[in-house]
Symmetry: C2
DNA sequence: CTATCTGCAAACCGTTTGCAGCGTT
DNA sequence: AACGCTGCAAACGGTTTGCAGATAG
């Protein structure tokens, strides 16, 4: 049992949510995924270990996890409905366009750029997104 | 008549599309907007000058403009269906969370970061998104 | 004159909601 | 035992498609 699964389940319980089979199944799939998964993909994978699961419970659990900042939504050119574990301190994503595998990386040095843009435009900058897209090592070889 | 409107209309014509009243109306709205607009917003604004316009034509024209890389889709936490002129050489966006006004800025210095991330992860990086969110000058004052 | 384009209505599809019964606490 | 949670089915909302009539070239 992954440490992240346990921690997410405890977090849900600590916020007054009950631990049900449906939630366990969803949490186990999303918390251990190295790929961004759509609700439907989560549903199909999680059903392998809990066949009674309904798609609606996937949506409701993802919403919960999102409110607790345990998952984040990933936006891509071809869809904006994929979810991924939120890793504290690793805000930036590198996503494989072929298999959706994700790497997290630190973007140091960016604060200076943001401050400069804020000054030049008069905007009060509140948040940012930095995402890179490409091919992971495995897909690079598979394509060539 | 904005230079961008003319240029977009010429571009459509050059690619074999006919210049109709519906397309003119949509192009005039999107090409001159400083805000990201949803298809429905484009429809409502464009109808002021061409009331017979249908929402379907807005979708079809936006798709065309997108294929010609004249507009880009903008993704935000609260929706991914807003469109904006694509400015050559100004890839990065700063979006006001309140009024959706957009500023474009150059992100120099970023190539080095991308190259480093590529090396460390083994990914072949093909594209990137950098978006900042905040409050524009006018909205900053309105809120406070 | 003809092929493209139009607006309408209906289909579509991912997501959300209402609800009666189930299962966690 | 109580009430939160479930899956189902239906509703919803944005987007796409089929089509007969309109219109740019």
């Amino acid at each position: 049992m992954s440490i992240r699964v346990t921690s997410w389940l405890e977090s849900l319980q600590a916020h007054g949510y009950r631990l049900t089979e449906a939630r366990r199944a969803v949490v186990e799939v999303v918390a251990t995924s190295k790929r961004a998964l759509s609700p439907l993909e989560v549903y199909e994978i999680a059903r392998r270990r809990y066949p009674a699961l309904g798609l609606v419970s996937v949506y409701r659990t993802l919403e919960m996890l999102s409110a607790l900042h345990l998952v984040q939504r990933v936006h891509q050119e071809d869809g904006c409905n994929a979810y991924l574990p939120s890793l504290e301190g690793h805000q930036h994503l590198l996503i494989c366009e072929r298999c959706r595998r994700v790497e997290y990386f630190d973007g140091d040095d960016l604060e200076a750029l943001f401050a400069r843009v804020g000054e030049q435009t008069g905007f009060e900058i509140r948040s940012h997104w930095l995402q890179l897209f490409g091919l992971c090592q495995a897909c690079k070889q598979a394509v060539s």
